[in-house]
């Protein structure tokens, strides 16, 4: 019995070809899905895990470096501020020290001046007292020679001299007072 249409080579020479093709395909498919593809995919997964891990590590390192940099900057700014403050303090302290030194020096000089004045005063007083004593003696001596009589009666002479000097002093005291 001839078919109505001749399909020529489109009809398999042996129907078994289809079956054989299917069987072979499934055998290869089995090998692929059980052996080949899992092996390749495992390699790929491991590789991407390694690369992923590497990226994460690199990111972590970068973050760390960033933090360190910020810390460093903050520390640097702190140190600068600190240095400025120290400089200011030092300036202030220095000027305080200078002022103190100046005050001390002034005080010292005032004290020295005071001492000198007191010493001078004391020396003057001593000189005045000495002078008074000597002037009395000299004056009586001189007066005795001039008068020719002894004024050696000490008690009287001293009283006279004293009185004279007192008068002199009084006059000297009164003179500037009048002048003023």
């Amino acid at each position: 019995m001839l078919p109505l249409i001749d399909f020529g080579p489109l009809v398999p020479q042996e129907p078994a070809e289809i079956l054989v093709g299917l069987v072979l395909f499934f055998i290869i498919l089995f090998a692929m899905s059980k052996v080949v593809v899992p092996m390749f995919e495992r390699t790929y997964a491991e590789r991407s895990a390694v690369i992923q891990g590497g990226i994460e590590r690199a990111e972590a390192a970068q973050r760390e470096a960033q933090t360190a940099l910020e810390n460093y900057r903050a520390q640097l700014a702190g140190a600068r501020e600190e240095a400025g403050r120290i400089r200011e303090d030092a300036k202030a302290q220095g000027s305080a020290i200078i002022a103190e030194m100046r005050a001390q020096a002034q005080e010292e000089s005032a004290r020295l001046l005071q001492n000198a004045k007191a010493q001078i005063e004391a020396e003057r007083a001593a000189a005045v007292a000495q002078l008074r004593a000597e002037v009395g003696g000299l004056a009586t001596g001189l007066a005795g020679r001039i008068v020719g009589e002894s004024l050696d009666d000490d008690e009287r002479a001293r009283r006279t001299v004293d009185r004279f000097i007192a008068e002199l002093e009084q006059a000297a005291d009164q003179a500037p007072a009048r002048q003023a």
């Binding site: 398999p12 395909f25 052996v35």
Partner: protein
């Protein structure tokens, strides 16, 4: 003579299916040039399916499995030469076809697409290499098998995802079609997506290899006939015929190069289209 020896040596005489197919006929090349030769003709008609092309397909399967197992073994994170080559071949299917077409759920389909691609490619390359010189898939039975599997696959995943009704609706009715046109569109879409796809898939692969092998036969067999001629043919002188034979043989190299390209392209196209059909069957919006 019989057994595996007849894989390579053309059989003379009493082969059963061979003679019925017209396999002893050599010139001009035609449909009969594709006849399979039974390996064990003495076993009788019921074993005629054990023919040389089936053996070729089996050898191709062994080669494919062997290649991939060798390529898959002893992997390290930093690939050596063998592994790099294996990964390049694997990535051609994995990334170039599966991932690019199927999107993020491509992994379950890698074994299928890899099997398809490598099995077709090796069988196609048999058409250009010594020993066999015959592309297995110019026997349409094998092609029908692969097309049937791809048809089952893409319809199967579609039905599993959307249910039979949902899948049919998505496949046969593109969204946004006015109701008045349904009567035209639905049969057309059904025809193109369910009926025609596997047929074109099979015929494309088969016809390319069948025609390619036929062209090779014309140039090689015809050329050698012309080269070895001892009598005038068609009123041409013998030296002219021999010259034509030389030219014909030389031109056959170009044809072989073209066939190499077609072998690869057809394997690739079959795989890409299968992936494409799977992708469209799984698409949310058709």
């Amino acid at each position: 003579m019989g057994g595996l020896g007849s894989l390579l040596v053309p059989l003379e005489g009493d082969a059963t299916g061979w003679a019925a197919c017209g396999g002893e006929h050599h010139w001009p090349p035609g449909q009969t040039s594709f006849c399979s030769r039974p390996l064990f003709p003495q076993l009788g008609e019921q074993f005629s399916w054990l023919n040389n092309h089936m053996a070729q397909a089996v050898i191709a399967a062994i080669l494919v499995i062997g290649f991939w197992v060798v390529m898959a073994r002893g992997h390290s994170l930093v690939p050596g030469k063998r592994q790099a080559f294996g990964e390049m071949a694997y990535d051609l299917v994995r990334n170039g076809i599966a991932r690019d077409i199927l999107g993020h759920d491509f992994k379950p389909f890698i074994p299928y697409l890899l099997t398809l691609f490598s099995f077709i490619l090796v069988n196609n390359l048999f058409g250009e290499f010594f020993l066999f010189m015959f592309p297995t898939f110019s026997k349409i039975g094998y092609v029908y098998a692969l097309a049937l599997l791809s048809w089952l696959l893409y319809n199967g995943v579609g039905i599993r995802k959307f249910g039979f009704g949902g899948y049919m609706k998505r496949t046969c009715l593109p969204p946004g079609v006015p109701k008045a046109l349904w009567i035209i569109i639905v049969p057309l879409e059904f025809l193109s997506n369910i009926i025609v796809r596997p047929v074109t898939l099979a015929l494309r692969l088969f016809a390319n290899l069948f025609a390619g092998h036929l062209v090779v036969l014309v140039f090689v067999v015809g050329g050698s006939l012309l080269l070895t001629t001892t009598e005038r043919l068609g009123g041409f002188d013998i030296p002219l015929l021999k010259t034509a034979g030389v030219v014909s043989i030389l031109f056959s190299f170009a044809v072989f190069a073209l066939e190499l390209l077609i072998s690869f392209i057809q394997a690739y196209v079959f795989t890409v289209l299968t992936a494409q059909y799977v992708s469209s069957a799984l698409a949310e919006e058709h």
